[in-house]
Point group: C2
Chain length 555, copies 2
């Protein structure tokens, strides 16, 4: 009979930034009791996922092992850690544990699916713990760019594991708990089997800066501004929002929050007690009653999101407020790779309005929420684990993080999504490859990344679409001519006649030539018509469109 | 009778980076004789231009004024300055002037349209000049990231104008002519009416670095590498390619050029004499015969282009060559904003192969080809023009560049695409707004950005597509049921039945209910069927697809 074992299995986040979802198990091989850490989303883009609303890890493996799951733990309230709790609840339906602020946000996600708030159980910080099957789990405070971010201290019969979640080392984070090396030393003292560690900033060579370093630059900027000031940052970065608001307040400006997420996050922070002393805010309807130099707007959309307040303000009015020549717009943020085009578009639209733009490249207006390379080394030295397993990062980050560990003579394991690692023995090893992937929320339907649905959309976007319609009578003779409807294709091509006419002519000739064998066989007929439509298009316009053939038989 | 005037009219490049196309005119208002400077392209993206091959300025205005155009001058051989000479030649057909290297590249573009090479006339550098109607134009050497980049000295009866083209201030550019402040002083001495000046790097606060600063870091990296080395940069950056090749050569490595553009650019450089002493190269078929540590590949695709050598090497074999664990891949380049996702994808694929990646963030492996803020000031001080008109930049760059000029007590004019500026008097002023836009090369057809074709493709990509087919008999009664073909849509929705069945059922019911007025009217019938298809889809899958309705009448 085989021994119990302790396993680690990333389903999302290990090989990408975003979509975090990790599994730990303890028990007999194949019958381990399981806990899940985080259930996050990642965001679609036009290149690979047009029309998709949101993306999260394929949880087929969890669904198949539903009876073995004890609980889901959420480390913090960023979308890439909590965003999919609502979308997956019907499938999993396990108890969810989180600290107060995170629980507040998670309950909001569940409410969208009419799931009651009690599905989420609020846990206090370490040393409080939760028992979940063979696991005892505690929330160990750590600083990050959102309140109450926590590492998980996961105790198992095979030893203690620390799962860092996302973190930075900030002893003065302004809101939420500071990095407390003494506490971490104490928790690590009994010995730590594995440190599962955030990797996103492993290529940043210098130690990270504290949140407090942002205030002075912002304060100077805002106090010197002559007209309206607008600042954008992630709404969930409550400390930053507070810094911005206080700078405005001290400069004699009334603060107005714009954007649903901005108001939601501040509300959640106040409700759960993580935020106090936030300056009084005014509603958008009050802005027009004040001189422009007495107003500061704090707005969503630092990543250029089309529907967020920043984008709307750059295009025109939002909530009745319009920016004007001489106003100042501060990006207290860093553009996430991939969002450059959208952010730059907003900057240029603001420039056209005569608005002055300030961003992180022009001063100390932003700090990262993640641990840089030296910070990772600091944590590894304090925790002193038997093995470091990098998580939350692209392949290049995980690989570099393993190298960093090895440079410091620690064991490191590169485990990407789907690799099940057995942590029980002295040498961790990959014991199984689980099929993983991505699930797309598309409108109200969850579809698989490999279903071909999005692939077809991409093809239509690249190639255009032709619908060919043919009617055959009872004797399989064409009734009238075939005809075509085009979408996303030029009207005219090489021969300077309408493309639709050239296509119909060629299809008609094909039908005239086609023998009984083709005319009586739907597949052959469709295949032939499709081939002609594509070839004629290639000749005329230099590209082969997608073709839908509709054959109607009166028989 | 009105006076002659000197006009400046940007058609592309003023309000964007890329797609440069500028017009100068001299003569009676509305009858000025014209010259065109540059005819470049910009690149499509999936967000806004799916399926498009290349983009250039809408030249409708030039076509309408074809008889007034004397010539087209090309400042240098980058795609965003020369890329559209072939695509527009049939429309414009004016003489093209360029220096030898640029002319070589331009002739290649024309050859794709079977236009003879003599359409391009080779001009030597300043003090040689070309007469073009009222203009006398000379090519004033200036350093940039491609050989023989030149500013244009444009003499007119209303005074001298200098159009910088793209440039940097490099006194040691390695290949091509150095920045020569003495020469520029001399040319500026008679007085310069207007300086039309590159703006892309106006936000870069420090003086630019010389091309020579790249060599030492590359040489150290390559000499210490243990296995195969691959380096990518823009093929047209001949100096950089030479630096990379020499570093490889000195480290005892054979050089192999991969990618069509890489070979094309080196050939053109050798043919026109701008490049000498390039190390001997080997063909891809010889690579396998050599030890990996004796090979260095110089490859295209630094911006992550899907079909270029870098991307293909990251995915698998290219020309029989495959990268392996421990190889080194150097990005001697900067990722252009908007290309991050593609470049990062390649980096991660290389990381999966165990290839070590080095980029500009890790050392001095790249320098920009454009003048930074202090460099712009240097040129403005030397030229000392009556007015600075920023070109080649997004709106935010042009605006900042005007501010920079004004800070130094110079007049600056913010003129974006379509603004015609009269430079004749002492105060330049906008005298006309010309309609401008973008032309898409789509397969072999040129379409307008506003034609709605690409918009329809984007809609299909976001929403999916439904084809509804209905046949009506001679009495306008439905013959059989309506049916649907779906593309890019989920198979099942809310009711867990196939979406196509639910749609056909609802459409059938609609047809059954529809009165004579609807059934006999194609527009009403189509409108009704479309509405039902969209509403049913919304209920089932939470999104409204694009719908094509095909009504066939047997009458």
């Amino acid at each position: 009979m085989s021994e119990n074992r302790l396993i680690y299995l990333p389903l999302g986040g290990a090989g990408e930034i975003g979509m975090n979802c990790y599994v730990y198990g303890y028990g007999k091989p194949g019958a381990e009791r399981l806990i899940v850490v985080d259930m996050g989303v990642t965001f679609p883009d036009m290149d690979t996922t047009p029309g998709v609303d949101i993306i999260f890890a394929d949880i087929t493996w969890l669904k198949e092992n539903r009876n073995r799951i004890e609980a889901l733990f959420i480390t913090h309230a960023h979308e890439d850690h909590v965003g999919a709790v609502g979308h997956t609840f019907e499938t999993l339906g396990v108890p969810i544990y989180a600290r107060a602020f995170t629980a507040n946000i998670a309950r909001g996600k569940l409410a969208e699916y009419n799931v009651e708030g009690k599905a989420v159980r609020t846990v206090s910080k370490w040393p409080e713990t939760v028992n979940a099957g063979p696991f005892t789990v505690g929330f160990l405070p750590i600083s990050h760019s959102i309140p109450e971010s926590s590492a998980l201290v996961i105790d198992t019969p095979a030893g203690r594991v620390i799962h860092t979640g996302d973190f930075k080392l900030d002893t003065t984070p302004l809101v939420g708990e500071a990095w407390d090396p003494k506490l971490w030393e104490e928790v690590s003292k009994p010995g730590v089997k594995a440190l599962i560690c955030d990797s996103t900033n492993v290529f940043s060579p210098h130690a990270g800066r504290s949140e407090t370093t942002v205030g002075p630059a912002v304060e100077k900027l805002v106090s010197e501004a002559k007209n309206m000031v607008v600042a954008t940052t992630f709404a969930s970065n409550v400390a930053r929002v507070k810094t911005l608001a206080e700078a405005g307040d001290r400069a004699g400006r009334s603060i107005c929050l714009l954007g649903r997420a901005m108001r939601r996050m501040i509300e959640a922070s106040v409700e759960t007690g993580v935020l106090t002393g936030f300056p009084k805010v005014i509603g958008p309807e009050d802005v027009s009653h004040l001189p422009r130099e007495n107003v500061m707007l704090l707005v969503t959309g630092s990543q250029g999101e089309r529907r967020a307040a920043s984008a709307q303000l750059s295009r025109g009015k939002y909530n009745g407020i319009e920016l004007k020549e001489g106003d100042l717009f501060l990006f207290s943020s860093k553009t996430i790779p991939g969002n450059e085009r959208e952010v730059i578009r907003i900057m240029n639209q603001l420039s056209e309005k005569g608005v002055d733009i300030v961003d992180d490249s022009m001063g100390d207006y932003h700090v990262s929420g993640h641990a840089n390379r030296p910070d990772l080394e600091t944590v590894q030295n304090i925790v002193n684990p038997q093995v470091v397993i990098p998580m939350h990062g692209e392949h290049r980050h995980l690989r570099e993080h393993v190298r960093l560990a090895e440079k410091n003579r620690r064991a490191g394991v590169l485990a990407v999504n789907g690799m099940m690692v057995d942590l029980s023995g002295n040498e961790p090893r990959v014991v199984e490859y689980v099929e993983t992937g991505r699930t797309y929320l598309d409108g109200s339907v969850q579809i698989g990344a490999m279903d071909g649905i999005v692939r077809d959309r991409i093809r239509m976007a690249l190639n255009g679409h032709v619908v060919v319609t043919v009617i055959l009578d009872e004797q399989d003779e064409p009734l009238g001519e075939p005809w075509c409807d085009l979408m996303g294709l030029p009207e005219k091509g090489r021969s300077n006649a309408p493309l639709v006419d050239v296509l119909e002519e060629d299809l008609s000739q094909f039908l005239g030539r086609a023998g009984d064998k083709v005319r009586t066989d739907d597949d052959k007929l469709e295949e032939g018509l499709r081939r002609v439509a594509r070839q004629t298009s290639l000749n005329e316009i230099g590209k082969k469109p997608e073709v839908t053939v509709v054959v109607s038989r009166l028989s």
